[in-house]
Each structure stands twice: as structure tokens, then as C-alpha cells.
């Protein structure tokens, strides 16, 4: 089972620059061709200063968090079981967002083939002034590797 001491372990904030090309590629990967994701004029006519990112765009952000370090185990496989996002505002092209990651919980849950190790990871994105932009919460089924990390 995962080490309960991992709870509260966190990574320092990591800068993510929101680029227009990355927004467009992300929208295309979902198959969402809403012009608000690539057409400046359309976005401005919609009341925004510039194009916005799809709300699930933080999926592409990276943080300094290495889950092996945060959880203190080698990882054989990860399965994404749950995901939530809360947004304070849309994410805009040109935003500079600092993402930090924290282990919110680790526990065991009965599964199809014995007990499963669950980790709940929270990410938080803040702008340069420190204002909250989004919070994300993911629940992962973790299969630890036999060897130590």
C-alpha cells in the first residue's frame, strides 16, 4: 500500500506559458473546432481580450511534480479514475500560469483483483499576481513497481 506520509507532499510552482499554437492543437486533438480557440476577432466579439483555451487545457500543463517522488514509489502503471476542474476564469492565450501539485490523499479501495492503491492529486494554477485560475483534482489507480524508485 502507498505510504500515508506522501499526503501533503507538494511540488514547487512551475511556469506554463499558454501559447496560441498549443491551444489550437489541443482543441484539434479533442476535435473541437470552436473558433473561440483560434480566431482572435471571434474571441474579441465574444467579449474576451484574446482567444481562450478549452477548459480542459490544463491537462497539457506540466508541473515539477514527479509522481514517483511525490508518492515515494516506483510506478508500474497508472489508471485515471476521476477528474474534476474548477475555474475562476477562462485561460487566455498569453497567460503565464504557475502550476503546483500536491498529494491530497492516498488510500486503498477494494478492486476486481484485490486491493487497489488510490492517490488523489490536486493541481492549482495561479497567474503572476498569485490569483487562482483553476484547481484540478485527479484520482489515480496506482500500480507500484516492485523495485524501489
Amino acid at each position: 500500500m502507498l505510504d500515508k506520509n506522501a499526503i501533503g507532499r507538494a511540488s514547487p510552482p512551475t511556469l506554463n506559458e499558454v501559447e496560441k499554437g498549443a491551444i489550437r492543437r489541443f482543441a484539434e486533438a479533442i476535435g473541437d473546432y470552436n473558433p473561440i480557440y483560434y480566431d482572435e476577432e471571434y474571441a474579441r466579439a465574444s467579449g474576451y481580450p484574446t482567444i481562450i483555451a478549452p477548459p480542459t487545457f490544463p491537462a497539457s500543463f506540466h508541473s515539477a511534480a514527479d509522481l514517483r517522488e511525490l508518492l515515494g514509489v516506483g510506478i508500474k502503471s497508472l489508471l485515471h479514475a476521476e477528474q474534476g476542474f474548477d475555474y475562476e476564469r477562462p485561460i487566455f492565450a498569453g497567460d503565464r500560469i504557475y502550476v503546483s501539485t500536491r498529494v491530497s490523499d492516498v488510500f486503498e479501495r477494494p478492486g476486481m483483483s484485490g486491493k487497489m492503491d488510490i492517490a488523489v492529486i490536486e493541481d492549482e494554477g495561479r497567474d503572476e499576481e498569485g490569483n487562482l485560475v483553476f484547481r484540478a483534482r485527479r484520482t489515480l489507480v496506482v500500480r507500484a513497481a516492485k523495485e524501489t524508485p
Binding site: 486533438a29 479533442i30 473541437d32 470552436n34 480557440y37 497539457s60 474534476g84
Partner: protein
């Protein structure tokens, strides 16, 4: 005239997970977990082939509510449990139902089922500004 929303209102969205969708999504998101892009790795993990990233399915939930409130920038909250894998060649039907409208904010429950009528999400909820 802004449109009005009421509890009980519904919306629908359909998306097909084409054969290469998990690879496009891996490229754009950076999620190259082998279970998404390599059928053999998926099978080795007991998944019977590769599966779509749950976050892509969640992106489609957001697309559904964004279409309904006519602006993705209004989305304030989304969450779901990935209860069954989405596989290449699956077609997912999203059906939303407004459960509350209060203080310029709308809450809806969303179901997502594959072409066999099986739920791929549980407890999916979205919230958006409508003011």
C-alpha cells in the same frame, strides 16, 4: 435576447473516438501513457487494447455544455468518474440535463454512453455561468 434556462432542459452531443484519437490527444496533452497509444501495452495492463485518455472524454463533456451555454468561457466546473474505458471506434453519446439554475449559474448532470448503451462516465456534473 439572452436565452433562458430551466431545470429539466436537456442537451445532447455525440463524438466518435476515431482510431487515431488517443494519439492526437497524446500529442496535444503530453499524456503518452502507453495504455493510450499502444494496443499491446493496453492488453498487457488487462485493458484488452488501447483506451482513450479520460481527459479527452471530459473535454467532450465540456464541449457539450459549452455548446449548450454558447460559450466555453462560461464553464466553471466539470467533474466525472471514468467508469468504463472508451476505445478506438467507439461512439459516445452525451446527454445533459439541467438540475439547477441559480444566481446566474447553471448545474447539469451529464451521462455518457457508448454504442452498446454502456455508461463510460459516472457522476458527471458541469456548472456554467449563464448571466
Amino acid at each position: 435576447m439572452p436565452r433562458t434556462y430551466q431545470p429539466g432542459d436537456t442537451f445532447t452531443h455525440v463524438r466518435e473516438c476515431d482510431r487515431y484519437r488517443p494519439i492526437y490527444y497524446a500529442g496535444a496533452s503530453g499524456d503518452y501513457n502507453p495504455i493510450h497509444i499502444d494496443p499491446e501495452a493496453g492488453s498487457a495492463a488487462g485493458l484488452n487494447g488501447n483506451i482513450l485518455q479520460g481527459l479527452c472524454t471530459l473535454g467532450w463533456v465540456v464541449e457539450a455544455i459549452a455548446g449548450f451555454v454558447e460559450d466555453p468561457g462560461r464553464v466553471r466546473r466539470v467533474k466525472a468518474r471514468f467508469s468504463r474505458p472508451v476505445r478506438p471506434e467507439d461512439t459516445i453519446t452525451f446527454q445533459g440535463r439541467v438540475t439547477a439554475v441559480q444566481d446566474g449559474r447553471l448545474t447539469a448532470e451529464v451521462s455518457a454512453t457508448n454504442q452498446r448503451g454502456e455508461d463510460v462516465l459516472k457522476g458527471a456534473v458541469v456548472e456554467a455561468f449563464i448571466g
